[in-house]
């Protein structure tokens, strides 16, 4: 295989991986902070995708503009959902295990509601639109490589949002509060960190990231109401690989998984992609439940 082909292969893996990372970071934020395993996460990605598609095809809004718009909209939705459901759960659950189980069930219900609502509104067909689909040539040895502009944009924005989140969590006071809460909920509350404000906000941000991922995806791929589930599963695989609660781990694992899938599919067969992902998932959960990067 030529250098150019390798570059294209790995880069396409990174592009899918960038989206995986973005979705996984949102899920990680919710689970690591609040112990809510939101298996409806992918559905909100789908909502972001459909909102962008609708805004673009019906109102003529540029998808680029929809990137921040979908973030804000989905963040607001996330905060509302948290207030209506998970907040009450946190109050009424006798212990953490029960809360986790109930949270899982609520998100289960949400998955049904959101996916079918979308199907009701927009129908089950595949939708899509063209945006920045012209190829861009990247020079390099052996003729370089060629990518669609929208895919490069996808990678760039996904990485930008991911690193922004990580930086915010590491550097700002707010972010440090979140990380403190993740490590020790009681300790953090004792030093005055306000969970009632922080939880819905972080849940919202998680969902917002998912929406942005959906918006970005709609620029390059076709969308459908059932597109969310595979991304939820992939996000789960990613945060398992990277370690629950570890942001940098989720970023690294997301990119890695994208590349592994691309390379794996190229050398074996595309129908084995799911088998490969699930196999890795189960293997990691069984042998290294703390994630590949955890110190023992």
């Amino acid at each position: 295989m030529s250098f150019g082909s390798w570059l294209e292969l790995i880069a396409s893996g990174l592009i899918t991986g960038g989206v995986y990372a973005l979705v996984a970071l949102g899920l990680n934020l919710q689970y690591g902070l609040m112990r809510v395993l939101n298996i409806a996460h992918g559905e909100f990605l789908m909502v972001g995708a459909f909102l962008t598609w609708w805004a673009h095809t019906q109102l003529g809004v540029s998808p680029l503009l929809m990137v921040p718009v979908s973030f804000v909209l989905l963040m607001a939705l996330g905060m509302a959902i948290h207030r209506l459901t998970f907040r009450r759960l946190a109050r009424t659950s006798p212990n953490l295990d029960v809360f986790e189980a109930r949270g899982l069930m609520v998100s289960f219900g949400l998955m049904f509601v959101v996916q079918n609502f979308a199907q009701l509104l927009w129908g089950g067909d595949l939708r899509g639109y063209d945006f920045m689909a012209d190829p861009v040539r990247i020079p390099g040895p052996g003729g370089g490589a060629q990518f669609a502009a929208n895919k490069l944009l996808l990678l760039a924005l996904a990485l930008a949002f991911s690193t922004a989140l990580i930086v915010v969590l590491r550097k700002t006071l707010y972010g440090k509060g979140v990380r403190a809460l993740m490590q020790s909920p009681t300790g953090a509350q004792l030093v005055g960190i306000d969970t009632t404000r922080l939880h819905p906000l972080m849940f919202g941000i998680g969902l917002g990231l998912s929406g942005v991922a959906g918006c970005l995806l709609s620029m390059t791929y076709t969308i459908s109401p059932s597109m969310g589930e595979p991304y939820t599963v992939t996000a789960l695989i990613v945060i398992t690989l990277g370690g629950f609660g570890s942001m940098a781990g989720a970023l690294a694992a997301g990119l890695a998984l994208g590349v592994i899938e691309a390379v794996g599919m190229h050398f074996t067969s595309p129908s084995l992609k799911s088998l490969l992902s699930y196999g890795i998932f189960i293997a990691v959960l069984l042998w290294r439940p703390n994630g590949l990067f955890a110190r023992k």
Binding site: L89, D97, L104, F108, L110, V113, N116, S271, Y278
Partner: protein, 328 residues
């Protein structure tokens, strides 16, 4: 085992007997539509009751029902001609139970959410594996069942499985095995220090739930006459089972059955016109139940309504009091 039957046991058995009698009458007096609806209802009653038997008591939420159902369906479809109806059902149950033992041994030492996610992952893995196998190795897309028993045979078999699922639940609840599972659900480590071999109990319970799902799958494959991985390993089968069991009340005896009936009615009325509305209402009901009625429909008592009324009036008082304090 005590030979005299206590009143509570007698009551449960009597209810079961009455319901069975009523269900038996349907094929002879009901329309084709009614039989079809009753069959779906019985299928989910069997699946949800056997699911609750293990998952409701131990609180290990399994999303693997579709895996066991599909394994049973494939076993039944492939071997029906060779080993006959009864053999197909039994073998379907046995193979599913074997899969459960392997899966359980690998996975049952993990905590609640991990376990749920893993069982889902393994179900999908099995589905993709069988899809790939059928395409690459055997070269078929689906399986056709050429020789199938009559509609009434299938109906009676599924009815028998539903009755068995509830009957076994009645017995297990009163046994040491059931007590062990309840202990695991309440405080697993505590139960261990009191002498419960939790690993064995969990694998056993998991296998039991799988056996029922496998048997039901084998039976339904005959009803559908054509199966492929997408239909019999459809995760929705597992999701709906779990939803029904949770809404009905996973830790109760009759909850899953009640919910199965309610949802069969809902499904048949809504599914053709507005399947999305049906699914949305399932999801919404689950959310409402988890938030306001964690014990499920079966735990609904007159006292619960009083509790809700008190909660609402207190909430209202707090809002109006906050309003009087002035806008913030």
């Amino acid at each position: 085992m005590k030979l005299h039957i206590k009143p509570a046991l007698a009551r449960d058995l009597l209810v079961l007997f009455a319901l069975t009698g009523w269900a038996l009458a349907i094929p002879y007096f009901g329309s084709e539509f009614m039989v079809s609806m009753a069959l779906t209802c019985l299928m989910y009653a069997a699946l949800a009751s056997s699911w609750s038997l293990f998952c409701g008591t131990t609180r290990y939420l399994s999303l693997a029902t579709a895996a066991f159902f599909g394994v049973g369906a494939y076993t039944g479809a492939i071997l029906l001609e060779q080993i006959g109806w009864f053999g197909a059902i039994t073998l379907g149950a046995a193979v599913a139970a074997a899969v459960a033992v392997v899966m359980g041994a690998a996975v049952l030492h993990l905590r609640g959410t991990y376990f749920a996610v893993l069982t889902f992952g393994m179900t999908e893995l099995i589905r993709h594996a069988i899809t790939w196998w059928e395409k690459q190795v055997t070269g078929t897309v689906g399986r056709v069942l050429a020789v199938v028993p009559e509609r009434d045979t299938v109906y009676l078999t599924v009815l028998a499985l539903a009755v068995a699922a509830i009957g076994v639940s009645i017995m297990v609840r009163r046994s040491r095995f059931g007590l062990a599972m309840a202990g695991i659900g309440a405080d697993e480590q505590r139960a261990q220090t009191l002498g419960v071999n939790t690993r064995l109990v969990k694998i056993g319970g998991f296998a039991l739930t799988a056996a029922f799902a496998g048997a039901v799958g084998a039976a339904m494959s005959a009803r559908w006459t054509y199966i492929d991985p997408a239909t019999v390993f459809n995760p929705f089968i597992g999701f709906q089972t779990v939803l029904i069991a949770l809404i009905g009340g996973a830790a109760t005896l009759w909850g899953p059955l009640i919910a199965a009936v309610v949802f069969s009615l809902l499904a048949e009325t809504l599914r053709l016109q507005a399947p999305q509305v049906y699914m949305m209402s399932l999801g919404l009901l689950l959310i409402l139940c988890v938030l306001y009625l964690p014990g499920g429909l079966a735990s609904l008592r007159t006292a619960t309504f009083g509790q809700w009324r008190d909660d609402t009036s207190q909430w209202w008082r707090e809002r109006t009091r906050a309003g009087k304090k002035g806008a913030r």
